[in-house]
């Protein structure tokens, strides 16, 4: 557990980076510090491994005041990942990953052997081990950065905007990797980002920092979205926070309707009304796109299917949330969201109106639950503190 009590960081020029921060970070939790730039989130994180010394207050790790510990020893027990990965450019990938074990006194040979295993664990080909960091793509470098932080198996991991310099596709991939690793390893992770989407996606708890280095809210991510504690949090999480909040709601109960599908061979025989849509699928049932009456005419005239169909919307896969369900419906040209099974084959269609109805139903149930709590004099917040 990491505890901040009354921690303030003030610079000689009078600016306050962090203002009287009280915060408890549970062991094995994924905590995200989020906020605009200059709000003290990175400063707060860097005080945990004593890269920055607070002007007032104490920080304890597992009950021990870190100001009383040896900074180098403290850092050897805390993994650290930064935006540009911060890899040592003059050392090969495997030696980068082996850095901390070697600093802790392991032999280079053992540390390298262990490093290869860690590389595989973060999804990197061991064939990259003998490359220099400059020869890797940004996403690969970031993976090496994560591997390096994990190599000595530290209980705590500090990550300072680790994925903000890579492109969105790679970022999503790295985020998924992080979730997988955390499920496996249960580290105490402190993750800094300015991206609220990333924060609510990854965090068990989200700490929103505001101007002047003041902590605005420290809550579960869905609480931050549904019940912002201050005006600042409300404006920071943005106008579409209601839409984002849908991602915390299950879509298991959303009804599936049968939709008309057709394979490429069946297209010329189709008879469609104006405004009627049919989903074109492969022989295996995987969606290829929507087709209407004009499209069918094109297909009869012998134009390739890809030119006759309108691109499909996002797909709704099993276990997805209401946000994905609604997005599938509203991004689909026919207005019908396409649900697929794990293999990618079409299982049915979703209507946007029914997604909204499901949301209303869930809310009503929650209101009733709150009412019961109230009448039976139980704590009014079922989500915990």
């Amino acid at each position: 557990m990491i505890t901040f009590s009354g921690v303030t960081k003030q610079y000689p020029d009078g600016t306050t980076a962090v203002d009287n921060l009280d915060l408890e970070i549970d062991a094995e939790s994924f905590t995200v510090f989020v906020g605009p730039s200059g709000c003290g989130k990175t400063t707060s994180m860097r005080m945990i491994n004593r890269m920055i010394t607070p002007t007032a207050g104490t920080i304890t790790v597992d009950g021990r005041d870190i100001a009383q510990t040896d900074a180098v020893k403290l850092r050897l027990g805390i993994g650290y990942v930064i935006q540009s990965a911060g890899l040592l450019p003059h050392r090969t990938v495997v030696d980068n990953v082996a850095t901390v074990p070697v600093l802790r006194g392991d032999s280079r040979r053992n540390a390298r052997k262990a490093a290869l295993a860690v590389l595989e664990r973060v999804g990197l080909d061991p064939a990259l081990a003998s490359r220099y960091p400059g020869q890797l793509s940004g996403g690969q470098q970031q993976r090496v950065g994560v591997a390096r932080a994990l190599a000595a198996d530290p209980p705590i991991l500090l990550m300072d905007e680790p994925f903000s310099a890579v492109d969105p596709v790679v970022r999503e991939d790295l985020q998924a990797e992080m979730q997988r690793l955390q499920a496996e390893m249960r580290k105490t992770i402190v993750f800094v980002t300015h991206d609220i989407d990333e924060a609510v996606k990854l965090g068990d708890r989200v700490a929103v920092f505001g101007p002047g280095g003041r902590l605005q809210q420290y809550d579960a991510p869905d609480t931050v979205l549904s019940a912002p504690a201050t005006d600042f949090v409300a404006s920071f999480v943005g106008r579409d926070r209601g839409y984002r909040g849908l991602s915390f709601r299950t879509a298991d109960q959303v009804p599936l309707h049968t939709i008309r599908t057709a394979t490429e061979k069946e297209l010329p025989a189709l008879r469609l009304e104006q405004g009627e849509w049919v989903l074109v699928v492969t022989d295996a049932g995987v969606p290829r796109g929507w087709i209407d009456v004009t499209g069918v005419e094109g297909a009869r005239a012998g134009r390739p299917v890809s030119e006759c169909t309108a691109a499909g919307g996002s797909l709704f896969s099993p276990g997805s949330d209401l946000r994905q369900a609604l997005d599938a419906a509203i991004s689909s040209p026919s207005g019908i969201g396409v649900a697929v099974d794990a293999g990618g084959a079409v299982t049915g269609g979703i209507l946007g109106s029914e997604v909204i109805a499901k949301l209303a139903e869930q809310r009503a149930a929650e209101d009733r639950a709150r009412g019961e709590h109230f009448f039976t004099a139980q704590p009014a917040t079922p989500d915990g503190p």
């Binding site: 850092r75 930064i82 540009s84 040592l88 600093l103 595989e120 020869q135 996403g139 390096r148 492109d167």
Partner: protein, 232 residues
Amino acid sequence: MRWLIDNFSVVVDLTKTHLYLALVPLLIGLLIAVPVGTAIRGASWLRKITLIVAGIAFTIPSLALFVTIPSVVGLQILDPLNVVIALTIYSTALLIRAVPEALDSVPADVVDSATAMGFTRLRRALTVELPLALPVLVANVRVVAVTNISLVSVGSLIGIGGLGTLFTQGYQRDYPDQILAGIIAIVVLALAFDLLLFLVGRALTPWTRQQKVRRTPLVAGQSAAPAAGEAS
């Protein structure tokens, strides 16, 4: 050319002396400038003062230095040590500027993350900062080496060996062949030594000449789409 071929062994002997007089000051200069240059980087006022002093030292004419050093340190005017001391002053003056600059060229985030990983200050300086400062440092050492090789020949004006004696003797005897031999020998020596340092620098910094390899990234167990994203 005739003269150079006939007196080749003489030229080789002079070359040895010349190299000795040029390189010993370079080594001493490095031994002084690397630790001092690293130390003064921490305090900006100290760095400024050092740079000013070094700048002034380098403006003293070499001949003036050759002539005054004997009386200051109490040596015979013909002692080769005079040249060594004078060139050490120049080498140090150049390198003490170069060392902090070379260290400045090390990316700050690399140093920062090394610290955060648990490097001690000394270990970081020796295994992270110095190696990464090498490309800039080697470039400066090459300049100093070539400067020294040319400056040693001035020493012959006060009668101290090296290839410069070919100039003074050739001039006194009005014998252009000998002067030409001196010019050729010094130019060849400077070029050869510059090339040697260049190659040493390359060998010490293998990471600087690795081409970025562009091939399908190796994301085991991931879908094809993110992998394609990483390659772009």
